[in-house]
């Protein structure tokens, strides 16, 4: 008889999934209480944002609110797409993100492969720490670093140019070189983290493969080419695909901290996110900003969905996630 009472307290695992939500809450009141704060937060800052997307189609005004603002269809979108900014910021966002992905991947995969070949554990540890450190630096601080490099009067780069008798450049007034500068900064900041991930993937490769290859006479370079690289391709593909999924979303923190309100550099550096930011804060027309945001979210969502499906389908057995 005692056993029966004990067994009653064990969780009932028979009917999973089915049954009403209310029954579940009644049966697990404390668990639902525990998850409540997270649910509230996600509801307020996640789901509640969705209805507000309609203001993209309104002549929205904070005072009149959603219910009383006039509907103007696609006029807000028209305004954006007719302006020259639309092409510029969209192209900048896509181009910069693409280059970010490309160069970060190239550098981090190469460095991971190289690091894997190093026998000295201390060297690996120290260099990994060094690679990773920029990741912890905020973009605001990083923008100061860029300033120490590219300041017209005091910057290191101009000093080097002058040393070689080259005319110093007013970097903050010249849009053209900023693609390269931004890519360089992104590589500086993001490579470390990726190296850690790829190195973990490489370490996961079965050691016996390398032994067999050595017996067959393959040298280190052969082993890298025919074992390491093919076997980490799934990981590279997954991470790259996931990054491509987010290609419509610019790195606001990075761009705004570095470029700020310097309009001269906008042609090369302004991305959708900074454009929306200015539209919201400066122009005082949230509907316009929302229209651009909606455009970004719509295209972005399609990309995220498609790339995630591809990852799921082709790499369900993938090394990560």
């Amino acid at each position: 008889m005692e056993m029966k009472t004990d067994l009653k307290k064990l969780p009932n695992l028979k009917n999973v999934g089915k049954g009403s939500l209310i029954k579940d809450v009644v049966r697990n009141p404390m668990s639902y209480l525990l998850v409540l704060p997270a649910v509230l937060y996600t509801f307020i800052f996640g789901y509640l944002t969705i209805p507000y997307m309609v203001i993209a189609f309104q002549k929205f005004n904070f005072r009149t609110g959603i219910l009383n603002s006039k509907w103007i269809g696609f006029k807000n979108f028209e305004f954006f797409f007719k302006s020259t900014s639309a092409a510029t910021v969209t192209w900048n966002t896509l181009r910069l993100n693409f280059l970010f992905i490309l160069f970060t991947t190239i550098f981090s995969v190469s460095l991971a492969i190289l690091l894997n070949e190093i026998k000295n554990k201390w060297f690996v540890k120290i260099t990994q720490s060094t690679f990773l450190f920029p990741h912890f630096i905020s973009w605001v601080v990083a923008s100061y670093i860029i300033y120490t490099l590219f300041s017209y009067n005091y910057g290191i780069v101009n000093k080097i140019l002058v040393y070689f008798s080259i005319e110093p450049v007013s970097w903050y007034m010249t849009p053209k070189p900023w693609t390269s500068i931004l890519v360089g900064m992104k590589v500086w900041q993001a490579t470390g983290m990726s190296v850690v991930i790829y190195l973990a993937a490489i370490t996961g490769i079965d050691g016996s493969m390398y032994e067999a290859a050595t017996i067959d006479g393959a040298n280190r370079w052969h082993q890298i080419r025919f074992i390491t690289i093919p076997l980490i391709m799934p990981t590279v593909a997954i991470l790259t695909l996931l990054s491509i999924g987010k290609i419509m979303y610019g790195d606001f923190g990075m761009i705004y901290a570095i470029i700020g309100d310097n309009g001269i550099l906008y042609p090369k550096a302004d991305v959708i996110d900074t454009y929306v930011f200015r539209a919201l804060r400066l122009s005082g027309d949230p509907a316009q900003a929302m229209a651009v945001g909606l455009f970004q979210s719509a295209v972005g969502f399609v990309l995220v969905y498609v790339t995630n499906r591809i990852v799921k389908k082709k790499f369900s057995e993938g090394a990560l996630f």
Binding site: L33, A38, T127, I137, I145, I197, M290
Partner: protein, 291 residues
């Protein structure tokens, strides 16, 4: 064997080169902050200052009320925010890992969806306004920082690996879910919670988005936002100084002051870096390897 030696040299060189690429910019920042201002005006920024000076740091520590205030703000929101965030996240993770909760997968989907689809910054801003999250400390604590579904799944996956028998025997002993969560699951999840604390902590420390969108009272400026404003304000000052016909006899340490402020903003991260790095990497591993 010669080939292996050659390979090694190239290998070490390339890796060291990239390490320098990562480290030198920060070293430069530090060096400029320690340079005498007149030396900067004469020589520009240098890796090895012509003349050292702690003047910038002295100015910060004695005169700077604003920066001291910003430091306090940042420390407060980092500590309070991280504690709250980890609490909320681990509580929710327990529920999602709890096999008794039949709808835990529905809940997981509920959280996951917002990671992929979201209204964006405009609705976010409107909602913050409507909630009165403006020019107060809550505006710096709650929006966009207090909870991250990514961290939620990290903790959940870890908790899933805790044997159910533990919970079952606790239930038999008469414990409820609350006790089980706080006295069993959370202590057992220390590794992943440490990592998640670091993720949240770093996010709070480096955040300036909330400030730029929701705050314009200077006594509420977190460190990063203070630093951001400093950059534009001081360049205005320098321009004004430069245009004056009379040379100022007091050389305001503007350049070194800026850099010193930047160094201070990195502050604790440098000191805590060994721990940060270890747990960060651990956290990544826990998240990546399927439980």
């Amino acid at each position: 064997m010669k080939k292996t030696g050659f390979f090694n040299i190239i290998n070490y060189s390339l890796i060291t080169l990239f390490s320098l690429f990562c480290a030198l910019p920060l070293v430069l920042l530090l060096m400029v902050s320690l340079t005498d201002e007149k030396s900067i005006i004469k020589n520009g920024y240098q890796f090895l200052p012509e003349k050292f000076s702690l003047e910038a740091y002295r100015m910060i520590f004695t005169g700077g009320h604003d920066i001291f205030n910003s430091y306090l703000v940042t420390i407060f929101i980092t500590v309070a925010g991280t504690l709250a965030a980890v609490m909320i996240t681990s509580m929710a993770a327990y529920t999602l890992a709890n096999k008794s909760v039949k709808h835990r997968d529905t809940l997981s989907l509920f959280f996951f969806f917002t990671m992929v689809f979201n209204g964006g910054i405009v609705p976010w801003y409107i909602i913050c306004m409507k909630l009165g999250l403006r020019n107060n400390i809550l505006a710096l604590l709650i929006p966009s920082l207090l909870f991250n579904p990514f961290n939620l799944f990290l903790v959940r996956n870890y908790m899933k690996s805790i044997p159910d028998s533990l919970r079952e025997s606790a239930l038999i002993d008469g414990a409820g879910d609350l006790r089980i969560a706080f006295q069993i699951y959370m202590p057992l999840s220390t590794p992943v919670l440490a990592a998640v604390s670091l993720f949240y902590g770093l996010a709070y420390w480096n955040n300036w988005w909330n400030a730029i969108m929701l705050v314009d009272k200077s006594n509420l400026y977190p460190l990063q936002y203070f630093l951001l404003k400093l950059k534009s304000e001081l360049s205005m000052l320098t321009d004004l100084q430069g245009s004056s016909a009379v040379l100022s006899t007091i050389t305001m340490p503007t350049e070194s002051l800026k850099m010193a402020t930047a160094i201070i903003t990195i502050g604790p991260i440098i000191l805590l870096y060994p721990f940060l790095q270890r747990y960060f990497v651990k956290g990544l591993m826990i998240g990546s390897i399927k439980g």
